[in-house]
Amino acid sequence: MTCEDVLNAVEPIAAGERQPDAGMAAHLSTCVSCASALDAARRLDALLRQRLVPTPPPQFTTRTMARIRRARWHNEQVIDWAFNAGLALIALATAAGIWIIVSRSGFTLVGNDALQLLGAGMRTFVQRVSPSLPVYALATVLLVTALGIWWWAERDATL
């Protein structure tokens, strides 16, 4: 057993992870240098175990939670912004696509004809209905009055 062998085993022995075998024990009992190294290793181990455990500041949890909330809010802002920008791009692309299709297909001409036809239809409808408008108005007033009386009577009954 050489000093080198023992010195290599000093730390595990001091930490209690290894027991010195007979040869090592004999060497330690006769070699002052190795015995002193083992003592030093034991003292170091004890000092390390006695080291103060730093404690977090009292407001640590509150501050950490606030930071997490801020980070989450920031992430949500980024996601919202990206989502809105994406939607705007899609809307723009869709509008541009429709415009290209319509302009290339000549559908604008058909569209104008359809609008004119719809306008003419509306005008005819109004002209036909307008003479009877007072009758319809009177009928509506009577109906609303009747419903009002019915609601008033029912309301009293439920009280």
């Binding site: 730390e11 390390l48 175990r49 404690t55 501050r63 950490t64």
Partner: protein, 180 residues
């Protein structure tokens, strides 16, 4: 923490239950802060890094598969945060920094001597390579096992033990006169 309670807490955090993550922070803050503080002596920087750890836990929790224990996963995050912080550089402290040393009493005073040895121990630890510093910091915290460290640092168990013994040997050499 028991595995069942640990799983339950994770599930509650994943569901976004009010107060669940706060409970997790409360449960692990001492360990996380102590590990970081022992590696990075600046208190405000250590708090900042400890908050970083919990921010990462919060982001990563939905993807945590539960293959490792929660504590092991947290140690791994601590190791990563400390490793990334290494790039910023740590001030080198000399063991003979006379400004910071406690003056040696003329009369041999055991208590004062112990304080001085502890002061020099902290300075000696600050001189160790970052990996060794982290190992020393974590190993001497109650409840942190070799296996946890090996998994967190992605190293074989034997390597963790060897590195820890080397770290202690280096410390013993640095503190040779103080430990007599």
């Amino acid at each position: 923490m028991e595995p069942d309670r640990e799983r339950e807490l994770i599930e509650r955090c994943r569901r976004g239950e009010v107060g669940a993550f706060e409970e997790l922070v409360d449960r692990y803050k001492s360990l996380v802060f102590a590990m970081i503080m022992r590696t990075i002596p600046d208190r405000s920087q250590a708090e900042d890094l400890a908050q970083d750890v919990f921010l990462r836990i919060h982001r990563g929790l939905p993807y945590f598969r539960g293959e490792a224990r929660l504590s092991t996963w947290i140690y791994r995050i601590v190791v990563n945060v400390c490793t990334q912080d290494r790039g910023r550089g740590t001030a080198q402290v000399s063991l003979d920094d006379t400004n910071a040393r406690v003056s040696t009493p003329v009369v041999a005073d055991r208590h004062a001597h112990d304080l001085e040895v502890r002061d020099r121990l902290e300075k000696a630890i600050a001189q160790l390579p970052a990996q060794y510093r982290l190992l020393i910091a974590a190993h001497y915290l109650r409840g942190v096992q070799y296996e946890d460290l090996a998994e967190a640092m992605n190293l074989p168990l034997g390597t963790v033990k060897t590195q820890l013994h080397r770290a202690k040997k280096q410390l013993r050499m640095l503190l040779e006169t103080d430990l007599r």
